[in-house]
């Protein structure tokens, strides 16, 4: 049962991620945004399978909602016409780049596959009911990772201020 669920989720994740990236599907940014949202949703389901329920909730709340709203809003603000999107030109350089990356991925996949089938790693994933995801994550977050956690709030504040300053309408008028 777990295997079937994993394969369905893996296929969904891979296909929607491919729909984000590959030109025939992801040509329209709105379509790509929806494909990305479904990828993030599938990943949240995988997090649930890995008993990371807290992260799955955060994934849906932050990633599949907040960040996706940001993307869709920017696409709306840009108001691109068909001509602005440009042609999808498949040049030789792009094909070579994609092939090289796929080769790299294949190599790493092969190493991951053969390497982690050794003695220690071949054990099936643990899924004990005593694995309290939210409790242990919260405990770590507010004890061991307290300083990085507070730094994150500073980072987000800086990002918000930076985004507002950069995206302001009159930005750079004097520079032109």
């Amino acid at each position: 049962m777990e295997a079937i669920t994993f394969w369905i989720l893996a296929a969904g994740t891979t296909m929607s991620a491919a729909a984000v990236v590959l030109p025939p599907f992801g040509r329209n940014p709105v379509h790509a945004a929806f494909a990305l949202a479904s990828t993030l949703f599938f990943l949240a389901c995988l997090f649930v399978m890995l008993s990371a329920t807290f992260l799955a909730a955060i994934q849906i709340l932050v990633y599949a909602s907040a960040i996706m709203v940001l993307f869709v809003f920017v696409i709306m603000l840009l108001n691109l016409r068909k001509a602005d999107l440009g042609e999808v030109r498949i040049t030789g350089m792009k094909v070579v780049t994609a092939m090289a990356i796929l080769l790299l991925v294949g190599k790493v996949v092969k190493v991951a596959w053969t390497g982690s089938h050794g003695a220690a790693a071949s054990a099936s994933l643990r899924s004990g009911p005593d694995f309290d995801a939210i409790g242990s994550v919260g405990d770590l977050l507010f004890r061991q990772f307290l300083l990085p956690f507070e730094m994150t709030s500073v980072l987000l504040l800086v990002a918000v201020i930076g985004a507002v300053v950069v995206a302001r309408r009159r930005f750079g008028r004097g520079v032109e």
């Binding site: 295997a3 893996a10 891979t14 991620a17 984000v20 990236v21 030109p23 940014p29 790509a32 945004a33 990305l36 993030l40 990943l43 997090f47 890995l50 990371a52 992260l55 955060i58 994934q59 990633y63 907040a66 960040i67 993307f71 920017v74 696409i75 840009l78 602005d84 999107l85 440009g86 780049t97 994609a98 790299l104 991925v105 996949v109 991951a112 982690s116 089938h117 790693a121 071949s122 054990a123 099936s124 994933l125 643990r126 899924s127 694995f131 995801a133 994550v137 770590l140 061991q144 990085p148 994150t152 980072l155 987000l156 990002a159 930076g162 985004a163 507002v164 950069v166 995206a167 750079g172």
Partner: protein
Amino acid sequence: MAEITLSHYLVLSMVLFGLGLVGVAVRRNAIIMMMSVELMLNAANLTLVAYSHHHGVASGQVVAFFVMALAAAEAAVGLALLLAVYRHLRTVNIDEMRQLRR
């Protein structure tokens, strides 16, 4: 097929990362390139969570949580930059952003 191990998750994560890398390298639309970056960050998150589950330690999930916060900040700033560039050049095609190359 019968049993789902750690390597299944690692391979899925690597495939996701490769798709994101292809997107950044091949696509010329800056919005789609940013989406591909998000894909790569999510692939890293999947690895972190899979290892965290495998070892029964929650710190991987905490790091994934930080990655999500970072991704939110990155998306906000990146999309703001994209808007500013679009106001200037009226394009999101990065091949046409070559003011520094001249």
